[in-house]
Amino acid sequence: LAKTTQPISMDSYEGQEVNITCSHNNIATNDYITWYQQFPSQGPRFIIQGYKTKVTNEVASLFIPADRKSSTLSLPRVSLSDTAVYYCLVGDMRTSTLGRLYFGRGTQLTVWP
């Protein structure tokens, strides 16, 4: 699976838009990009998944440039409850590796009042 690089930590204030960028230079043709969120003492929670261009759901947007070597998770108008670790994962979601998600260190987002 493609290795990912993301900032270790980010700080923001309530109401601001937060963009977390993930670098995945070795992404393969069949790889998808998935973001998870984890609060302390809880399991990771799926946020969004995409392959190219832009994906949006009720929680976030995911921007993927044409070369797919990076992606940006955008959280609009964050609140204190968005303080969490955010993981970027890249992998081929269609192969026989039915469970092996590789979590890196993630990005600790801290939202301040």
């Binding site: 003492s41 809880q42 990771p44 992998g91 039915l98 469970g99 998600l101 979590f103």
Partner: protein, 114 residues
């Protein structure tokens, strides 16, 4: 929204004892997983399970570990002879279509081996 539930939330055991961690995946999901997270470390894949057999396992999942789906709803992880280094949060997850659909994680069981 349906959830993956795990019991117990916290298990304390002595080194060498056997523990069984229990999970109830989301009812229409077909793929089941166990992950673990040692305090302050990354979330690590242990094993995936589909069609009543192990699909894939990591190097962590050695002979002391086993998984079972004893009935139509439960999915268990057994650690036969616990070691101090098995202390971690253990997360169960399930998905509808393997990695083509998102994994839904439970809130974990904190295992403490003394």
């Amino acid at each position: 929204e349906p959830e993956v539930t795990q019991t117990p939330s916290h298990q304390v055991t002595q080194m060498g004892q056997e523990v069984i961690l229990r999970c109830v995946p989301i009812s229409n999901h077909l793929y089941f997983y166990w992950y673990r997270q040692i305090l302050g470390q990354k979330v690590e894949f242990l094993v995936s399970f589909y069609n009543n057999e192990i699909s894939e396992k990591s190097e962590i999942f050695d002979d002391q570990f086993s998984v079972e789906r004893p009935d139509g709803s439960n999915f268990t992880l057994k650690i036969r002879s616990t070691k101090l280094e098995d202390s971690a949060m253990y997360f169960c997850a399930s998905s509808r279509q393997g990695l083509n659909s998102p994994l839904h994680f439970g809130n974990g069981t904190r295992l403490t081996v003394t």
